[in-house]
Symmetry: C2
Amino acid sequence: MSSNPAYQTCPTRDAGDRLRAAGLRPTRQRIALADLLFSKGDRHLTAEELHEEAVIAKVPVSLATVYNTLHQFTDAGMLRVLAIESSKTYFDTNVSDHQHFFLEGENVVMDIPHGDMTVNGLPKLPEGMEIAHIDVVVRLRRKRI
Amino acid sequence: MSSNPAYQTCPTRDAGDRLRAAGLRPTRQRIALADLLFSKGDRHLTAEELHEEAVIAKVPVSLATVYNTLHQFTDAGMLRVLAIESSKTYFDTNVSDHQHFFLEGENVVMDIPHGDMTVNGLPKLPEGMEIAHIDVVVRLRRKRI
DNA sequence: CTGTGTGCAAACTCTTTGCATAAGT
DNA sequence: ACTTATGCAAAGAGTTTGCACACAG
């Protein structure tokens, strides 16, 4: 398993093929969760939130399976875990390089539009290490008037 | 309470004065924890780690008090909470603007040396919001040879 | 059939809370 | 004295795990 980018080569592919391409057996639950995750543009969800959506969509799936599935999708490169300090783990359906706004207090995550944000002046890395990912979180707070 | 930067005006001030300046009553536990935190340069610690150090230093303090104290110090602007995805909360003794390396797998946090890293191309913020802080976490992984 | 995936409930980790006791000023 | 802080143990939230049952190929 691990990052198989094939799922990205055909955006119109259905959830079953997408899963097979990632080496995951397309079960009812995985297909339903994939549909919820990938048919609405880029999203940031917690396991709890996705489970809630599944319940509303009348998809019978347990919270434990949602956790399992999210991690399987993450291992397959279909999701990314966000580096946001909070008691909850956010999974991002947009695995490309991009950054986030985080609204303090409200625990809301938003994509930063366009890829025109850059990080400059990176120092040399510790010996034997390479960059896995650079996370930029712009924490916003409500302006007090 | 809340951010009182007075504690920074005199780096040689002892922990008691530092606490008073922040509006915190200088108790045994707070003084001991402040000593552990601020007498060794910039650090990133979890509550568990600081508690462990206190135990080793023969400072009798409960984990609950360590948590309380860390949050009090944070409210007073003496510490900063790091935006690193992980089950643990990291508290940073360096409250100035600076960024971090995070060593995946090892859960180690390191300061990025010098302030020569910058973020460019920030888009306009959502209505009524202002930037509280920009966190950049450069996630590193061991280079596979 | 045979191997995987799922559901459930219990376990686990980190963190917070309530309340009686102790300590600071 | 009066107020605030601490310790303990229990509660809480989010997440993971173990194992019997169900499903996909």
